[in-house]
Amino acid sequence: MTPERWQKVEEVLQGALDLPSQERVSFLDAACGEDDELKREAGSLISAHDEAGNFIEQPAIAEDAHILLGRSVGREVGPYTILECLGSGGMGEVYLAQDRRLDRPVALKILPAYLAADDARLRRFQREARAASALNHPNILTIHEVGEHEDIRFIATEFIDGQTLGELIASGNLSVDEIVEIVSQVASALSAAHAAGIVHRDIKPENIMRRSDGLVKILDFGIAKLVEHETPSTFPNIKHDARVQTEVGVVMGTVNYMSPEQARAVEVDKRTDIWSLGVLLYEMLTNRLPFIGATRMDALVSILEREPAALFVDDSKPEIRSLQKIVDKTLRKNRNDRYQTAEDLLRELKLVTNPSSLGLSSRSSSSRLTIQHAKSRKGLMMMAFGALVLVLVGGAIVFKGWISHPQTNIAAAPTGTLTTKAYLQMSGAEQLAFISEQEQRVSTMMGDRPVKLNDEALRAIKTYVDRWVERDGQPGDLGDESLNVVYTRAQSHVPLITRSFAARKVPVIIGIYLPVIESAYRNCYENSIGAKGLFQFLPQTARQYGVAHEEMCDVEKMAPAAAHYIADRMAELGEDSQSVTLVLLSYNRGPESVRDDLRELRDTENYQRNFWTLFAHRDKLDEQFRKESAGYVPAFFAAAIIGENPKAFDLPMPPLSSLANL
């Protein structure tokens, strides 16, 4: 059929459809005249129209929503049939399922393989989860079963048809009454759990649901325990979801609800839940988080060191003052200063008299309370500053990871007032001279002939050093904690790294600084692209070097593989540090990516076989390398200089090279 013909057919069709059905036959006869073909076409379409009924009337999504949602619908796991995917996260996927034996809906959480594999841990979790469930508290989710089907470990729980607190917060419709009610119910559940010696450890909006009848339920008791003290890859809350997005475009995962003691990785008790609940209360009241940061580490620093902005600008109303007081007391850094029990908190919440008299539905735009700007501006500046530093130091390189090591306890490291601040006391010129001298020293250790650096290169290093140690005139504001963490944690891997790199004849110092740089601020985690963290590899590279995908965050496996990879690339591309730098940059891009760049670079006049050639000739590199190397090379040296001079930078550790006996 041609478009013209169709136009004709349609004209007849529309004419007929405008008439009552009994008149259509005669209309058709009249309209088509001698054109039998037209009559047949239009006639069959009229019949089709009458028969079509509901055909395509329901949008496709009504029938196929589950296609978009996942692949597991209809699958049977033990006695449960999966109906729908409710969500997924670091702790596995959660499905709505039907219990075929009891013909009731359940929520089915399928544990990821890495958690399911550890029987001992699973039993611990099971014990705790059951204990919480056995409390039979109305605000605690009931667990039906922790089971196993073929290779799948699952947890079947009561199914809550409601919204998570995260969804409620996002919807922006919570009144202060409702907020106080929700927090009270959570506190009541915590009180019961704490009395039984159970700490939740992971109170956050995703773990709390409200049913349509207003009943609040805490989910996932025991889950946090399941994942803690895990290998680096499974540090809790590693899921970098974009859920929390602050006004400066900062994206954080769930680290925001961690207590200072969790941030320090020390033993936690029930007071950690009180803190997290305080964060939640703050967030619900203001629609913003009290502690944020551009990266995980920056947020942790914020938790450890910063005071949140006041809830509201106007605190003339007594109710606001009460809420402020409650929030303040839940968010005391020292847990001895917090509410000591959830009951204490509950009691004070009840005293917030008639919160509706505040006249605010917390997020209705007209009555929205603005955060006290004067007080928060510094916080924002610090945050922006922190973000910048971390983008430059951490982000300039591709690798990010924060070594989580159970033995290192950062709280044990001296913090607070540290006395040696040699670098800060120098003049600018002295600082540059210091950096120049130190750069030569580091270069020598790396087997590189020291070269006299130009001012641009020196200043580039200095920028990084300054940012790492910058404290904005306020001791402890930024930098020292994160450095402590990174170095202290890296330190424990030094013997392993030394062995691995020495065995491959790769300068050991590279082996040491590589993870220091790569691991700044983030724990190792795996995704389809590769391991992000200590010794980042592409999965195919890892495979090639005998590391299975699930082992990519295992330092024991990665350090030798990394040394092997670097040694191979050095044999192929050259042993000069110039090549090595590119090799390091190629880490997560595969060897192919460096070859052209290196060739290009070697055609450069004045090519010198050292790190700084890369920096000086970065315009010869491809776009990504250019960006990376502009930051990487100076950041690498800055980290080296800081690590080599712990006293000048208040690091509670010996120089890294001394650990490796360099």
Binding site: Q14, L45, I46, H49, I56, D64, A65, L68, S72, D161
Partner: protein, 189 residues
């Protein structure tokens, strides 16, 4: 998820409308994420017995992606159109893989679990509809757009009229003719 500025989104939408195929590629992951969200909410509310307009959800998705209050009508219309097209691609792709697997294609490439969620009948139906819609587009592009927006994009008649910038009456007539035409093409001789 990547975040887009309003300008970026608008830019991509304009490029896409101007026929730049790579723009849709860039849009797809973003839109797809939103589609999943929509599907999720859809299923939830459906179960609760609420009916709900997909339009409202798509609107919300747009707001979230564009992150702006000043929405040019054009952008929104383009976004709706892009959403419908991505939905169509996703479903048809799925249906084809389903049929491919069933017809003994290289099983290795198509994990059965991946495709079993869609019934074979449904896959057949979708593929037939898609082919018929291609044919219809050659005869009468606007009618094909109406169907794409309504069926794959979930838009109401009114919204469809809005997006295509035609009268409601026109959309009604287009819809009934297209529906008859497609029904015949899919089920007919």
């Amino acid at each position: 998820m990547a975040t887009l500025s309003a300008d970026n989104l608008t830019g991509l939408l304009i490029e896409w409308r101007a026929g730049d195929k790579t723009a849709l590629d860039k849009l797809t992951p973003l839109v797809y994420d939103e589609l999943r969200r929509i599907a999720h909410r859809y299923v939830r509310r459906e179960r609760n017995g609420h009916t709900l307009g997909t339009t409202a959800l798509v609107n919300e998705a747009y707001l979230r992606l564009a992150g702006t209050k000043n929405i040019a009508w054009n952008d929104r219309a383009h976004f709706f159109a892009a959403t419908a097209q991505v939905m169509r691609h996703v479903l048809i792709d799925h249906a084809r893989r389903r049929l491919y697997a069933k017809r003994g294609g290289q099983a290795q490439q198509v994990p059965i679990e991946d495709v079993s969620a869609m019934s074979e009948e449904r896959a057949d139906e979708l593929v037939a509809l898609d082919e018929a819609l291609h044919d219809l587009a050659k005869l009468d592009p606007r009618k094909a757009s109406v169907v794409e927006l309504r069926y794959f994009g979930g838009l109401s008649l009114e919204e469809t009229a809005d997006v295509l910038d035609v009268s409601l009456m026109t959309v009604r007539r287009d819809w009934r003719a297209a529906k008859a035409w497609l029904y015949k093409a899919v089920n007919g001789e």
